[in-house]
Structures are given as structure tokens and as C-alpha cells.
């Protein structure tokens, strides 16, 4: 690298010295500089960085403004123009290191004319051999200081930068292709060694040593590129990518079959989803402020100011926030679905005027205060341990409804959305559908979420058919995607 920078430095000095007879020389030097950058751009592009022509032009223009003999400045110019996101940053650094350090580090040796000649001769001597093998030619080119074909090859098999969309099926092909390149590298290495041994007489000792060192360093860097594992960058700046992936993964899993780890992951996903939903909602509120002018109302209100419309009114209906009352069956499998729904409901609390929640198995307990006093996840744990209900009892919807009627019926009014989450399995007890009807009459909407597969809804002791009559909406709620759909429909 030193030699290269020295060269650049020399040119810069000459450039400033303004000696007329050197002008031609300077022009040539600048061309070299441009050539170097363009070469790097070529490599970076074939390695997967997207660099627009305008960016290259910008970069070259900016080169004239800084002292390129000082490497941090030179690198900063390239980085500022070519690596325009966090993801590309690391990839760029690797390429930069490779191009300007590893490949150039021996430039001084190569530039001493006899050695360069020697390298060329050797590579030419080897060239006819690998005609049947395209990989070998790319490797030879790489050693010759022309890494472009090699990069393109790596890019083809997906070792380059982030191509996250690679399906799992594509993996095997990549492995075999990688192996082929590995073999080509070994073959070239052997051929070169053989060549040096064979031509012991013609090449003197020092030259052989230099050649050996040169070949070794370049083969090493080729290998490093090949085996390079894409580094994952997990810091606070990177949130967007894994979340979508995780949602895709978790979205279809049945609530009941989530592992402990997945539950934790689920929480994070829910957190992000809720944040997004809130954004959408707040934007809807913002949107509400615009709209058509309500002339009648504006004039009516203007009367108070002697007919001057001091305040404008728009023709929009204020959004109606609803009150939520949630009844959650916490027996067995239903609980896993209920907890996530409660989690989301309480995360979205400000979208409703009030959220009140009850848990029941046989008999019912209000848990609203637990959610008000504790953080959501803590609250959920707490309810499981401390709520005043018999967890081991057989589920009794009839009893639950009766208790609700006597204690809490006044909660329901025309602004209330009542959500019941349960499988509707009454253990052949009295379903008390009349009370449910009454609850339905009193509230604005009654939505029943059933975490069972719809196929089983009407079998055995399930009273879904009876209850369904009194519900405005019945939805299956088995996995995150279905739950999400419901929550979106509820708040939007």
C-alpha cells in the first residue's frame, strides 16, 4: 500500500508544483487515479454494492477537494459515496481492505519489472491448462491482480453481500459450487508450486522466494473471501429486517404449540406490531384534521364573533373510541391465545376509552386492576398465579354468565365492545344463552374469538352453535396472524 500511496502522493505534489513541462505527466497520473477508482467500483459492483454512475462522478470530483495522500480521507470519500447504508458499510470495509491493502500490499514487488514479467510468464504458461475449468481461470486472474471475474463468480453463488431472500433449497448448490472453487484454488496452488520446482534452474533463489510469498498471500486472500461468513450485525440500529422474518415464522404457529423461547420472541414481535399500529392510528387522527370545510357549522359558530369566522370547522366526524370488555377463558389451551390478546389489548390501551378484563373457568374474576398496576407481561404471570378462580374446575360458561349478569351487567352499554375468547365447551352444563343474548342486546358489538380449529367447533360439548346466534362476529383465533387481523379490524 505504501508504494501506491507514495505514488499518489508524488503526483499530488507534482500537481501543486505547477511546472508546465510536467503537465502531461500529471494528466497521466490523474488518469491512473481515475482508473484505480473505476477498478474498485467495478469490483464493488460485481460484489453486489449498488453504485450509481452519478456517485462515481461525485466521488471523483470530491477526490480533488481532499488530500488523498492521507488514507483516512481517501477512504472516507469512497465510503461516503459508495456505502450508503448500514448493511453496505461492513461489506464496503471488507472490499476496501482487500482491494487497497491485500492486493496492493505487494505492489512494490510486482512493480519491480522482472518479477512482474515473471508472474505474467508463469500465469501464461499455466493458462492453457485449465481451459476445461472456468473456475481456474478466474483464480489465475485473481493472482494476476485482476479480481473482477473471481468476485463475479462468488456473487453468482451467493457469498457476496446480503441476499437474504435465498431459499433454503438453493443452499446445496452453493456448497458444491463453493467446493469447486476451493478445488480450483488448490489446483492452482499446486500448479504454481510445481512450476517453481520445475523451473528451479531458470529462476534464481530470491526471485523464487518473492514469487512464493506473492502467490501465497493472494491465494490466502482468495480463500478468505470464499470462506467468509456473512456477519450478522446485531446492534440497536438494526430492527427492521429480522422482525418481518420472525413474524413470517411465528405468524402461522398455533398458539398452543409455541415453545417457551417462541413466546418470548412473540412478545417482541407483538411490541413492534403494536408500535406500528399506533403509528397508523395516530396518522388516521392526523388525517381527520383535514377534509372539507363545514360551511354551515363555521357560519353558525361565526355568529358569536359578529359574523367573522374566527375558527374553521371541518366536515369530519370525530373518531369513536370504544370501550372494551374482555372475557377470557383461562382453562387449558385457550389461555395461550387469551394472553396474547390481552397483551395486545393493553398495549393499545390509548386507542380505547377503557379496557376491562375478566378471567374465568368456573366463575369469574375481574383482573383490570392487575393490568393497571403491573407491566403487561408481569400482569399476565400474576393473573395465572393469583386470580381468584379455581383453575382445576371444569369450565362452566353458564355460571360465568350468571355471575357476570349479577355483578357487572351495568358495565355494558352502547359504546362497549364485548370480546369473549373461549372454546365454548360447557362440559354439558347449562349454556345460559339467554344471558348472552341480554349481554349482546346491551352492548354495541359482541365478538367471539375461538382458538379451536373451526372443524371441531360443533362437536362434543361445544355450544358454539348456540352462542353463535347472539354474536355479531365469530372468528377463529389460533395464531398470531389471525389475532393480528382481528386487532387491526378492531382498532382501525
Amino acid at each position: 500500500m505504501e508504494s501506491w500511496l507514495n505514488r499518489v502522493y508524488l503526483f499530488t505534489v507534482l500537481h501543486h508544483s505547477n511546472t508546465p513541462f510536467l503537465n502531461g505527466f500529471i494528466a497521466k497520473a490523474l488518469l491512473l487515479m481515475v482508473d484505480l477508482v473505476l477498478k474498485f467500483v467495478g469490483i464493488a459492483r460485481s460484489a453486489g454494492l449498488r453504485i450509481a454512475t452519478s456517485e462515481v462522478l461525485d466521488c471523483l470530483n470530491q477526490m480533488q477537494l481532499v488530500d488523498i495522500a492521507e488514507e483516512p480521507q481517501f477512504a472516507a470519500v469512497l465510503r461516503a459515496n459508495f456505502a450508503k447504508s448500514r448493511r453496505e458499510q461492513r461489506h464496503f470495509d471488507r472490499l476496501y481492505q482487500m482491494f487497497f491493502h491485500e492486493l496492493r500490499q505487494d505492489a512494490s514487488i510486482v512493480n519491480s519489472e522482472p518479477l512482474a514479467q515473471q508472474v505474467r510468464d508463469i500465469l501464461q504458461a499455466l493458462a492453457p491448462v485449465p481451459k476445461d475449468h472456468p473456475n481456474m481461470q478466474t483464480v489465475l486472474d485473481f493472482i494476476d491482480g485482476n479480481p473482477l471475474p473471481y468476485f463475479e463468480r462468488l456473487q453468482q453463488i451467493g457469498i457476496g453481500p446480503d441476499d437474504l431472500n435465498r431459499g433454503p433449497g438453493a443452499n446445496l448448490g452453493a456448497v458444491t459450487q463453493r467446493l469447486e472453487i476451493m478445488l480450483a484454488l488448490n489446483a492452482v496452488e499446486q500448479a504454481l508450486e510445481q512450476f517453481l520446482v520445475d523451473h528451479r534452474e531458470q529462476i534464481d533463489w530470491e526471485m523464487r522466494r518473492d514469487l512464493k510469498a506473492l502467490f501465497k498471500s493472494r491465494l490466502d486472500s482468495a480463500r478468505r473471501l470464499l470462506t467468509h461468513e456473512r456477519q450478522t450485525y446485531t446492534d440497536s440500529t438494526d430492527k427492521s429486517v429480522p422482525y418481518r422474518q420472525r413474524l413470517d415464522h411465528l405468524g402461522e404457529i398455533h398458539f398452543a404449540s409455541l415453545t417457551q423461547k417462541e413466546v418470548a420472541a412473540m412478545r417482541e414481535v407483538i411490541e413492534q406490531l403494536v408500535r406500528k399500529l399506533k403509528d397508523t392510528i395516530s396518522r388516521r387522527y392526523a388525517q381527520q384534521k383535514r377534509g372539507v370545510l363545514d360551511i354551515k357549522k363555521t357560519l353558525r359558530r361565526a355568529a358569536g364573533y359578529q359574523g367573522i369566522p374566527m375558527q374553521l370547522y371541518y366536515r369530519h366526524r370525530p373518531l369513536r373510541k370504544s370501550k372494551i370488555v374482555a372475557l377470557c377463558d383461562v382453562s387449558g389451551s385457550v389461555w395461550s391465545a387469551a394472553r396474547f390478546m390481552l397483551n395486545m389489548l393493553y398495549s393499545l390501551q390509548e386507542c380505547f376509552t377503557r379496557v376491562q378484563s375478566f378471567v374465568f373457568v368456573a366463575g369469574l374474576d375481574e383482573v383490570t386492576h392487575v393490568f393497571e398496576d403491573f407491566e403487561i407481561n408481569q400482569a399476565i404471570e400474576k393473573i395465572l398465579k393469583e386470580a381468584d378462580i379455581e383453575y382445576n374446575a371444569a369450565t362452566d360458561y353458564g355460571l360465568t354468565f350468571r355471575q357476570f349478569k349479577y355483578r357487572h351487567m351495568d358495565m355494558l352499554n352502547k359504546k362497549t365492545t364485548l370480546i369473549i375468547i373461549g372454546d365454548g365447551r360447557t362440559n354439558y352444563g347449562n349454556p345460559e344463552a339467554r344471558i348472552l343474548d341480554e349481554m349482546h342486546q346491551r352492548s354495541r358489538r359482541l365478538i367471539w374469538l375461538n382458538p379451536e380449529t373451526p372443524y371441531f367447533w360443533f362437536t362434543g360439548d361445544s355450544e358454539m352453535r348456540t352462542y353463535m346466534e347472539y354474536c355479531d362476529e365469530v372468528r377463529p383465533c389460533q395464531n398470531l396472524n389471525q389475532l393480528l387481523e382481528f386487532i387491526e379490524a378492531l382498532v382501525l
Binding site: 488530500d67 461516503a80 374566527m310
Partner: protein, 307 residues
Amino acid sequence: MGNRIKKFKNVDHVAAALKSADYICSKTIATVVFLAQATLKPVLVEGPAGVGKTELSKAVARSLGRELIRLQCYEGLDETKALYEWEYAKQLLYTQMVKEKIDDVVSGARSLAEAVDRIAEQEDAFFSERFIQPRPLLKAISSSQPVVLLVDEVDKSDPEFEAFLLEVLSDFQVSIPELGTRTARNIPFVFLTSNDSRDMSDALKRRCIHLYIDYPDRDLEMKIVRLKIPGIRTTLAGRLIDAIHKIRDLDLKKKPCVSETLDWAQSLLALQIEDLSPEVVRDTLNVILKYQADVDQVQAKLEKIIN
């Protein structure tokens, strides 16, 4: 030449000027700032929270003696909040005033056409400079002195606003339908900061010079601590920074950033602590870590971090 505009002369000058404005920067930052000034392009600054993205623009404003105009982005930010708005209330008062004066203007006119002509001769004040209320972007563009414009957390804004911003930043002019096009008298020094909560469009990126600020390396952070907290002993600062760097290597929810290093140093100084021991770290961890889970994790590995 009293009103000469202050400018950076070269990269080293940038570094020195920023240092005198209490901001210590790496060579990369200095180079990018210098380039941005030379090419009049906006700088898109990315990086983890708390590494001094916003502070950089403030330091540039300080060192150039320019006013800093800040536009904080959020979901739903629109043109009326970013560019300009009419002062409706004042306009209404104006119409009242005109109502009273209109007789003076048209009195003596012989025909309706003449009356209309006379009114047309008057100044068109209703939509004029008087009643326009400039918001940050218009302020930055119409300022007679060059300014530094900071568009903070641009990733929080909607894609539509980003497109609008792109238009403003590409030719530094805005059009106000009632008044015509306003072109910048002095092109402002623009910084956009982003926390990567979404990817910015390629078009915007292409217009900008990209700068990624990472957590500083040991030497740089040392310089920053020494600058901001002059009273601290070198040995203590060194130990502290070593610990912070080790903590950053852990898998934490929120890694401690530069400002937290400074807070920590400040609190150690306030507690008159001379050397970093595991007990001291345990007692003061809450200064640098913001999640209980993180605190627990660090406490479990305390011995490793201190030695």
C-alpha cells in the same frame, strides 16, 4: 470584509474547528463534513442512538457561527409544519380592515370598472410576506445569513414527506403557489439524521453524502471524556472506558453510548471515587444501563469486565 462567510479551509481545519466547538471527531467525520461544505450536499448521518449525530450538526453550527434551524421529524409531519403556513387569524383581521377602508379607495369612481381597477392597483396583501409564517425549511432557505439545517430523525417521517424533502434538498427552492418560487439565498449546510427505523429511499441517499458514526474507539472516547469532564484522572478515565467497551461487546438491549459514558464519569467524580472496583460498578450501573435485564447480565459478568 467584516461579513465574510466563515468556511472550513481543509479537513484538518474542520477537525480543529469542531474541537474548539467541544466536539471531537474522527478523520472520517471531518472529511465528510469538509466535503459536504465543498460540494454543498446534505449529509445523511446514521448510527446507533447517542453517538453524537445531532451534536455534530450543533458543533458545526457553533464552529461556523451559523444559526441552527432544527426540524424534528415524526409520523404525520406535513408541509404546513415543515415549510410554511398562512396566519389565518391575521388575514381575517386584515379583511375587516379592508372593509372599512374600501370606501376611501373607491369613492369618486364613476363606473364599476374604474372602481375595480382602483382596487386592483392596491397592494395585494392578503397572500403576502406579511401573513406567511415560515416553518424550519422555509426559514432555512430564505435566511439572509447562511444557516445549518438539521432534519432530525428523518426516518420517522412518512415516505411522502421524504419525497417532498428530496425536492427541496435537490435544488434548494420551494414554490409557494400564491407568491411564486423562493430560491435559497445561501445554500444551507444540511444534516439529516437517521436511526434506521426504516430504510431511506435510494434517491435520497444518492443526493446525500453518507456518514456512519459508530461508537468511538478507545482513544477517541478518551479524548471526549477528557474534554467534557476535565477534572477526571487519566487512570480512572482509562479504566472506565475499558469497562464501557467491554460492556458494549455484550449482547444488550440498549448499549451504553457516549453520553452515558460521560454521565458515568460525572457521577463517579461526584461520588469522589478514585478507582473502579466491582462494588463501585455494581452501585452505579443504573447510570449506564436502562433495562433491568441488561443490568442483571452485566452484574453476572462483573469480574470479567473489571479485569
